[in-house]
Symmetry: C2
Subunit: 238 residues, 2 copies
DNA sequence: AGCGCACTACGTACGCTGTACGTAACTAGG
DNA sequence: CCTAGTTACGTACAGCGTACGTAGTGCGCT
């Protein structure tokens, strides 16, 4: 009977161990760690079921006993990364605390450059995600707004961090992974952009480009964006 | 001779037509349209080189004459979508205009649900992207801040739109594409979440969950986020 | 005018992916 | 103790992006 019930799978809802049968050779943590190691070294595309299995020293298909779908492997990876968050004692200054959280998330992403690419697909509510949410809510304790507004602040901030850091990383990776140098690519881009600007079809953009001198400081842009978002929720700033 | 020069490729910098040889059977627009049609019908995973070629009625490898890498096909798709933006005459109310732009972007993404998944990887500066940027700058003419701040406003707003709409879509798609109903999945999730909450490890999250009654109105959340971001740039609101 | 070459077209083939399925070994619960 | 539910894993399949080779086409130059 009953063939495999096509039951909704949330990997966190499935027990890691069910008693019957031989002892599993690995824990979820083992598997997540192996996948993270590979992703850090070879990039996200290096994370294949075969590769992870070899890293663990088991057959490819054995992995499917632990991780029903590859997508769940991603979920494990994101959760593993969540453990790197330092859940510090809130200081009472919610702005400073949230800024620190954001900066730390950015640092984690720079350590694990594949995280931003994975974030959108992951639904969340992994154990460590829950712990991080709880931590953020603790930091926001001094902020006198409804709980719903707080979760919206957290969501907006996390979204901005992911988007901006993802951009930083994409820009850097493109340079690294391509068979040409960043200068070459930039030259071609600028040439193209220059040719477009020369058409006169984009006067305002042209002006904006002219106004800026020197390369963009992506980190400064990131910081300013954070401040803006925090401003938008700060009763003191309006 | 000279083997293929490993020159930086930006598809927009490469001329569509070079004079010599037989006439190309398709334009870039044809190819982009075919790919968009497939993505709309079968999802982004349906967009394979083979599938697009068949849709166009040519051999798979012929496509590579027009599109050197699959990544460039994505770039074409994003550009094609950009043409759907209505470049209306700015009204003089930059807030209202930018709100309209954001809502329209969201509508486009709901028509082409694969767009958010594609956005992060695309570097931009396609013709239609440039036109849209120029349009946004025109809408921001009445706003009295440096040009750099305007581009940062545009970037932040676009990022928020993509993130939030991407979330809306992911939530909806998960329900559609899985072999179980949304109710079933939700039930499992809530059961899991409930079990986590029951542990008492997440008191603040529990409170936040209890406070809200009824399902979340994602669109309302989206609108509130937009208003927050606009507030953060509005000299009148501080 | 006509030659040569850059271009289009496309079939074949390779290495890789996720994973369905079948079989053998193992162990805890009834 | 038996048996049912696990774990382990080799094999196999359909599908992917794309490198490469070959054949045909027509513009630009001499």
């Amino acid at each position: 009977m009953a063939g495999r019930a096509a039951v909704p799978e949330v990997i966190w809802a499935r027990p890691e161990r069910t008693g019957r049968g031989p002892k599993p050779a690995f824990t979820r943590a083992d598997i997540a760690a192996a996948a993270v190691r590979i992703a850090d070294a070879d990039g996200l595309d290096g994370v294949t079921m075969r590769h992870v299995a070899t890293e663990l020293g088991c057959g490819t298909m054995s992995l499917y006993n632990y991780v029903p779908r590859k997508e769940d492997l991603y979920e494990l990876m994101i959760d593993a990364i969540g453990a790197e968050h330092e859940m510090f004692e809130p200081t009472g200054d919610w702005r400073a605390d949230m800024l620190r959280n954001a900066e730390e998330t950015r640092a984690i992403m720079h350590r694990h450059t594949w995280v931003p690419r994975l974030m959108p697909g992951v639904f969340g509510f992994s154990p460590n995600t829950l712990r991080y949410l709880e931590h953020c809510l603790a930091c926001l304790e001094p902020l006198d707004v409804p709980a719903g507004t707080k979760t919206e602040l957290i969501a907006l901030l996390n979204g901005v961090v992911t988007t901006y850091t993802g951009n930083e990383i994409a820009t850097a990776e493109r340079a690294r992974s391509m068979p040409w140098t960043a200068e070459e690519e930039n030259a071609v881009r600028m040439a193209y952009l220059g040719s477009q600007i020369a058409t006169g079809a984009y006067p305002r953009m042209t002006a904006a480009f002219m106004e800026q001198s020197g390369p963009v400081d992506l980190e400064a842009v990131f910081r300013r964006a954070l401040e803006r978002v925090l401003d938008a929720f700060d009763p003191e700033s309006r």
